[in-house]
């Protein structure tokens, strides 16, 4: 697929405990990101063993996946903030290059 017509951006994904999700959302907003996608109750296997997915009556202790896309010039600040947060919390962060077709949505 030809990506010439697309605009390069940075995609930042984090998986954190539900109780830490508000802090990640605050960092995303403070970094100037225009939006994010949040999926609560994700399951998987990680450094600390298996993690159950959605619980019937507890959104607080399940894992949440938060994903945002920002222009390159905003990415570093958010990455610094998230690394500081994850330095004192369980959770992971993935940073990757990505392309978008409507850059005005992300600026």
């Amino acid at each position: 697929m030809n990506r010439d017509a697309l605009t390069p951006m940075v995609k930042i994904e984090t998986v954190v405990a539900g109780r830490d999700a508000p802090a990640v959302r605050e960092l995303i907003a403070a970094a100037g990101a225009t939006g994010y996608t949040s999926v609560s109750g994700v399951s998987g296997l990680g450094h600390h063993g298996p993690h159950q997915g959605r619980l019937l009556f507890n959104d607080h202790d399940t894992l949440t996946l938060l994903m945002t896309v920002v222009p390159d010039e905003q990415a570093d600040a958010l990455i610094y903030g998230l690394r500081t947060l994850l330095g004192a919390s369980s959770g992971v962060m993935f940073v990757s290059d990505t392309y978008v077709s409507r850059p005005e949505y992300f600026q």
Binding site: N58, D61, G81, R83, L85
Partner: protein, 890 residues
């Protein structure tokens, strides 16, 4: 910790790192819900990912908090027999290797085992040094009046900003947020010196930039920043906790705003930074202790402890080698850790007896008569107070009772007939999934209209009264117009609270007579959701067969007067609201023919003659009110009549039982007089002990009622019904452990910390509480928002009523199933493996209890320890255990 190299961070990066630092630092304060929907939380919940002992060290360092009772308190309990030597033996055996404990040391003429030496040190050792708060702000360290001024100024503006929801004179510029509104107004505050006002007038427009600038002026290095921010948050944990809650639930303010205000005040008041009067002193101090031990730089602490024991035990002259050997033993238990052994022993005394009694009681039960249908089944909340109602109802006849979280699986936003803002009536761990409205029952529109008109009139009168009180000149006119009535009414409420309460209720009934209503389940839920709710509720509590003709879901609430902490007495599973609406919702769903049909397809056949009913237990009066009684078919009216009669009888017996503990209530009151006394206290606006709430809570039992039915558990145990046989996959157990048990642990921790350190974690005495709108209370005219529970919720005067113990969770289920659930839920691993909750399990009634430890499951009481043998022998001699009273556990 990854940080940008100094000088290389952009402003945006510095702001992002600061916000992350604030988030990490904020773990030292728990979110503080508005008092009108009080939610019990673990004050150290942000530290649950570390072991309990470590969390206590952090709390001592940052908050200056005490994490357990003090040694003199434990020693007094030891002298009184509440803690036995055998309890201490077991606690030491759980902490230290058996090989060490059985080793022998000589001290002068004495020959002691290490166990005996450690026991002597626990009982006779000099009190361990008290750790004092070491994480302090610069102003707290160098200029206490300035530190107090920072607190006072910040409190003032927080109250103005947050309280604006409840007063008619909002803070100007509030819509711009706390920091920006404050930054506009603070430079105009003439209570501050001109220099400070000038300083504040030059603040940046962004809160994060202001906080960074102030940290720089105060000389806080990046590596020290989280610790310094913690110290500021810990200075007023009430405001910080409430703003944390507000940030997470409303999003109109955050802790960066709050800290920017505090740090800017501190920098300006201390006049530090470039060009300022003062140099920048180092912002932190090293941890300090109040040294009361005999330890000196030349003499290690353990040697001093041994010499103390030589004196106390009158051992005679001890050689240097003997002292050194003794010191080596005592070094295994630092003096600062002794209170943790005492706590373990204190908890062990209760837990050992509880588990032994559970085993004995179940073994002594007569076999259930097959085919005998209970007169009715009552499903109560797991709340420890329900245990009393269940026990007394079962004593009246062949009733069967169950325990289930009091929202009955209905996570709803509920709007009553009068309309207004819906109540979020579900555990705070979830968001409400469905909206339920109260509506006039079919054909009763006129009655509903009359009630609505009456409610509107009452609400209008109350609103007018409060508006007049809050107005600038209104109170003068109000006093003229209504003073002649208000004075005698206040006198009547004070002198004759029961009579005044009857008049008030009668007046309310006259103005707004009750009308038959229903709840809107069909609009609020899809059919699939209703079926799922029904299936989940019945499966989780193990009620999938053997239904009675009447099954009552019994929620609970508490009626008290002039009590800002009313919500703390309502149902925690309903978000601090009364549980009636949730009971009505669950009952209505289970009476639906379509739901019954779908349940039958899923293997749960509810007989056609079973009717689900809603009720509500008032825990202050012990009256149980049947809700939606007009919907009960005529065929079931005799059953309902019998049930209500026996619930009234059970309520009177429970009131009499509670009166023995309530300060000022006569212990000798017979049933009806006790019931009247409970009602009188409920309506007494001067009564600070309307009920004890969940004081005394100590354990959470998950299993069938047969485990506990013969026992009087003294309203100290959360009871969740569970049948492992119908939950082979463990789904129901996982839900119980991750939701009701988590809420119970929050409640337990709130009571625990409010008792062991009421100054740091409690809300002080009710007698000086000053409510601010619905958000919280101050102790007097200003200062910090009070956190935790009032003193009158956990103690009488200086004497604690609540026994501060961490939660014991006892489960009837296969251990491999429990392990599997814990392994895939990190939050449970933290609770059980870090010492916040102790876990016991037994798969079958005859199986001995096992304790989950970091190294696997172990017998609850290791063989060879004296108390276990004695307890077993005592119980074995009694094939039919005597009735157990609450005193057995105290």
């Amino acid at each position: 910790m990854t940080r940008a190299p100094a000088g290389l961070t952009s402003p945006a990066q510095a702001r992002a790192i600061l916000r992350a630092d604030v988030t990490v630092a904020a773990r030292i304060v728990a979110p503080l819900w508005p008092v009108e929907t009080f939610i019990a939380v673990n004050p150290l919940g942000g530290l649950e990912s570390v072991p309990f002992a470590t969390a206590l060290q952090v709390a001592g360092d940052v908050l200056g908090a005490r994490g357990t009772c003090e040694e003199p308190t434990f020693r007094a309990m030891h002298r009184a027999g509440r803690i036995k030597d055998a309890d201490l033996h077991q606690a030491l055996a759980r902490r230290l290797p058996v090989g060490l404990l059985s080793s022998v040391v000589r001290l002068g003429a004495l020959r002691l085992t290490a166990m005996e030496l450690l026991l002597a040190d626990l009982v006779h050792g000099d009190p361990s040094p008290q750790r004092v708060r070491s994480a302090v702000t610069l102003s707290q360290r160098t200029d206490l009046p300035m530190a107090a001024l920072v607190d006072a100024q910040t409190s003032k503006w927080c109250a103005a900003y947050i309280g604006a929801d409840h007063i008619g004179w909002p803070m100007p510029g509030r819509e711009a947020g706390l920091y920006r509104a404050w930054a506009q107004l603070a430079p105009l505050d003439r209570s501050l010196p001109r220099r400070v006002r000038r300083d504040l007038a030059g603040l940046p427009t962004r809160a994060d930039d202001a906080a960074l600038a102030a940290l720089d002026r105060l000389g806080v290095e990046p590596a020290e920043r989280q610790r310094y921010l913690r110290a500021h948050l810990a200075a007023q944990p009430g405001w910080a906790g409430h703003l944390r809650w507000r940030a997470e639930h409303h999003g109109d303010v955050d802790l960066t705003d709050y800290l920017a205000v505090r740090l800017s005040y501190e920098a300006a008041l201390l006049n530090v930074g470039p060009g300022a009067r003062r140099p920048r002193p180092a912002p932190t101090a090293t941890p300090t202790t109040i040294a009361v031990s005999r330890a000196t730089p030349e003499q290690p602490e353990e040697v001093a402890r041994v010499q103390r024991l030589v004196e106390v035990l009158k051992a005679g002259p001890a050689t240097t080698g003997q002292v050194a050997a003794g010191a080596e033993v005592l070094a295994q238990l630092p003096a600062a850790a002794r209170t943790l052994v005492w706590l373990d022993a204190f908890e062990g005394h209760y837990r050992d007896r509880l588990l032994h009694l559970l085993t004995a009681a179940e073994a002594g039960l007569a076999p259930t008569e097959i085919g005998l249908r209970p007169s009715a089944q009552l499903v109560c909340c797991i709340d420890a107070r329900s245990e009393g109602l269940r026990r007394h109802l079962e004593a009246t006849g062949p009733y069967e009772t169950f325990g289930f979280a009091g929202f009955f699986a209905a996570a709803i936003a509920y709007q009553d007939l009068a309309g207004g803002r819906p109540d979020v009536s579900c555990p705070v761990l979830v968001a409400p999934a469905n909206r339920v409205e109260e509506r006039a029952a079919p054909g009763t529109g006129a009655a509903a209209a009359r009630r609505l008109a009456g409610l509107a009139a009452v609400a209008g009168a109350e609103a007018g009264f409060h508006e007049a009180k809050d107005d600038t000149l209104g109170p003068f006119a109000l006093a003229e117009a209504a003073g002649w009535l208000a004075g005698p009414w206040a006198a009547a409420k004070t002198a004759f609270p029961a009579v005044a309460g009857r008049w008030r209720r009668a007046g309310h009934r006259l103005l707004a007579p009750t009308a038959p209503t229903t709840v809107s389940i069909e609009e609020g839920f899809t059919l699939d959701e209703r079926v799922l709710l029904a299936q989940v509720a019945l499966t989780m509590m193990g009620l999938t067969r053997g239904f009675a003709r009447l099954v009552a879901f019994c929620g609970h609430g508490s009626t008290t007067s002039n009590n800002p902490y009313q919500a703390a007495l309502d149902c925690g599973a309903c978000g601090g609201h009364r549980g009636g609406p949730n009971a009505r919702t669950a009952a209505a769903i289970l009476n639906e023919p379509q739901v019954r049909t779908a349940l039958a397809e899923r293997g749960i056949s509810v007989p056609h003659d079973t009717w689900f009913l809603a009720a509500e237990h008032d825990t202050a009066t012990d009256r149980v009110t049947v809700l939606d009684g007009h919907q009960v078919p005529p065929s079931h009216q005799p059953d309902l009549h019998a049930l209500t009669t026996n619930l009234a009888k059970a309520g009177r017996a429970l009131a009499a039982e509670r009166c023995t503990d309530l300060p000022g209530a006569s212990a000798a009151r017979p049933g009806r007089a006790a019931a009247r006394e409970a009602v009188r206290r409920s309506g007494d606006w001067a009564q600070v002990y309307p009920e004890w709430g969940l004081a005394g809570n100590a354990a959470f039992i998950i299993g069938p009622r047969a485990m506990t039915a013969p026992l009087d558990l003294d309203r100290r145990v959360f009871l969740h019904s569970y049948d492992p046989a119908i939950d082979p996959g463990g789904t129901a157990l996982e839900t119980i452990l991750t939701a009701p048990m988590v809420v119970a642990q929050w409640i337990n921790a709130q009571y625990y910390f409010s008792t062991v350190d009421p100054v740091t974690f409690g809300a002080g005495t009710k007698t000086i509480h000053n409510p601010i709108g619905g958000i919280g209370v101050l102790a007097g005219p200003g200062g910090d928002l009070q956190t935790g529970l009032p003193r009158q919720s956990v103690a009488v005067g200086d004497r604690p009523f609540h026994e501060p113990m961490r939660l014991l969770t006892a489960i009837r289920a296969p251990r491999h199933r429990i392990d599997q659930i814990i392994d895939q839920n990190p939050a449970l691993r933290h609770l059980f493996d870090h010492g916040w909750v102790t876990l016991a399990a037994s798969e079958h009634p005859a199986d001995p209890w096992q304790r989950r430890t970091p190294t696997g499951w172990q017998p609850w009481t290791p063989d060879g320890l004296p108390d276990s043998r004695a307890a077993r022998r005592t119980l074995a001699q009694s094939p039919h255990p005597r009735p157990i009273s609450g005193a057995d556990f105290r």
